[in-house]
Amino acid sequence: MAEFKEISPNAPMAEKALNWVDNRFPLSKLYKEHLSEYYAPKNFNFLYFFGVLSLLVLVIQIVTGIFLVMHYKPDAATAFASVEYIMRDVPWGWLIRYMHSTGASAFFVVVYMHMFRGLIYGSYRKPRELVWLFGCAIFLALMGEAFMGYLLPWGQMSYWGAQVIVNLFSAIPFIGPDLALLIRGDYVVGDATLNRFFAFHVIAVPLVLLGLVVAHIIALHEVGSNNPDGIEIKAHKDTSGKPLDGIPFHPYYTVHDIMGVTGFLLVFSAIIFFAPEFGGYFLEYNNFIPADPLKTPLHIAPVWYFTPYYSMLRAITTEMMYALIVCVIAAAYLGATRAAISSTLKAAVIGGALVLVGLMLAIDAKFWGVVVMGGSVIILFFLPWLDHCAVKSIRYRPDWHVWLYVVFVLNFFVLGYLGVKPPSLMGERVSQIGTLYYFGFFLLMPWWSRLGETKPVPARVHFVAH
């Protein structure tokens, strides 16, 4: 609690007003802690635009969303027509709607870039684990938000996409079918489902998202930003206690970020005005047909940002289960023979592996597909404890580590590409290999991240004045 601060009665009006507020609310304190005296490393590159851009897109989505709700009707009988009404009859409604639909894809573009930045520069490493965890939770909430929002136009893709994803839950043994029923609120996706998804999409999930974003930023400002060199700037301070390699967020990065925002808005506007459907990737063509519960479109695929996970779901067939069982047995064998753990723990590893193999044989591949799909997102939460490399940033990792990351990114794109394609035998094989690589990358990280010779890390950040 701060002392009550008296100010000279001759002070200017503005100063007196600020003092009056500061004695009742930490306005100046918050401004200093989060802007004018928040020291960020001076060597940020363009990848650091994407955090601020995520915040910008969040604001765009909330504002456009509020205006869409004013005209949209969450009713299976009128939902599709109300979206067309927004597009055709509401003055400038098309613009608001395209901003919102393009914003959804833009959100995932900037968030994927933001996560990629964190991944390669080790921004999840100690002491930033909680920043990363809050970020992963935001990603999860965002996926839920996007999925539920996609049902609202009540087109064919909306309907059958929701049908597939809700049915994922019914694959869970014992409780699955009842759980799916509880989510749908009816025996098929219908009016009840649309209504509740609307409630979640416009109020429940956005509230959670906002809370998580605040937690993400508070945690970040507590520990300070990482940078492309992965060096703690707080290790070298000047006599007044300010980091030598840090600059105040405001005005330096606020002005700097305006450039990123401008670039982003340039591309964003170009898409809204010239290619709002983005060739069927942002708004799928089949979604311009009203939902028909009797007919699945000939080709259904999720929107592009879900397709890598969707590919992994499709990759889990009965055959693939045998490959996975081999992986489990190999992991248990290595754990029992090579790992430096007590013999009771080794027995537990073998026992656990046997139980797992038993379950893998007993339960349908369908359920394991769902586990793999969920696991591919959940595994991100564990990243801070999987990476044991001596250095944080990719700049000082062994060269072959860089190649593992390159292949990881390419693999993610390949999985994403296969997810939008109709199922094929060749695609199935490639996505199975891709799935193994994706999980191998993370699960074997405690082993491979320790290997190889790291490059010397400099004491101060690499910075060229411009």
Partner: protein
């Protein structure tokens, strides 16, 4: 904290009231969660559907809606019935033995999965994730299907394939055959879907 500063009497009551609060909170959650389950109106909407099947020609399919789901009525040609025998080795559950109570009524647990060999009645919802498979009645090689395709259905979502009796092929994402709904023939041309006992 040293033991002497703890008032154990107060602590016991703090724990007790904490537990009571949690129990109360959980109890309040019950009505909220309950609102997620199907409403009485949704439960009531499940009446049987009567269909006139006299106009279906051999090789044709009629789709009707029952409980919000597509129900297919297919009049199979002799070649299609013959093909059902050929594909048996490639099927996951040719005898309809998996979950028979939910998927296949006793009167349809045969090779044709039907009461009358000619007419197949099935719910057109894939047992994988609930898409409606598309018709691939034409035999022979075609995209996404094996070259010795004998006619059946392909699920557009995850590539599961079914034969002309809704039986699923092996090593596909879908674990089970298509559901055969309870149904009965009121006469040669009248089919009732949703009930299989005389009222």
């Amino acid at each position: 904290m040293s033991e002497t500063t703890v008032d154990t009497g107060k602590r016991t009551w703090l724990i007790a009231s904490g537990c009571a609060g949690v129990a109360g909170g959980a109890a309040v959650a019950v009505p909220f969660i309950s609102t997620f389950s199907p409403s009485e109106r949704a439960k009531a909407a499940g009446a049987a559907v009567e269909v006139d099947i006299s106009s279906i020609k051999p090789g044709e399919k009629l789709t009707v809606e029952w409980r919000g789901k597509p129900v297919w009525i297919i009049r199979r040609t002799p070649e299609q019935l013959e093909a059902l025998k050929k594909v048996e080795a490639q099927l996951a559950d040719p005898q309809s033995q998996r979950n028979p109570d939910e998927l296949t009524p006793a009167y349809a647990r045969n090779q044709m999965r039907s009461i009358k060999p000619e007419f197949f009645v099935g719910v057109g919802i894939c047992s994988h994730l609930g898409c409606s498979p598309s018709d691939k009645f034409q035999m022979g090689p075609q995209p996404s299907l094996p070259d010795d395709w004998q006619g059946g259905f392909l699920c557009p979502c995850h590539g599961s394939t079914f034969d002309m009796a809704g039986r699923v092929y092996k090593n596909k994402p879908a674990p089970d055959n298509l559901e055969v709904p309870p149904h009965m023939y009121l006469s040669d041309s009248r089919l009732l879907i949703g009930e299989d006992k005389k009222a």
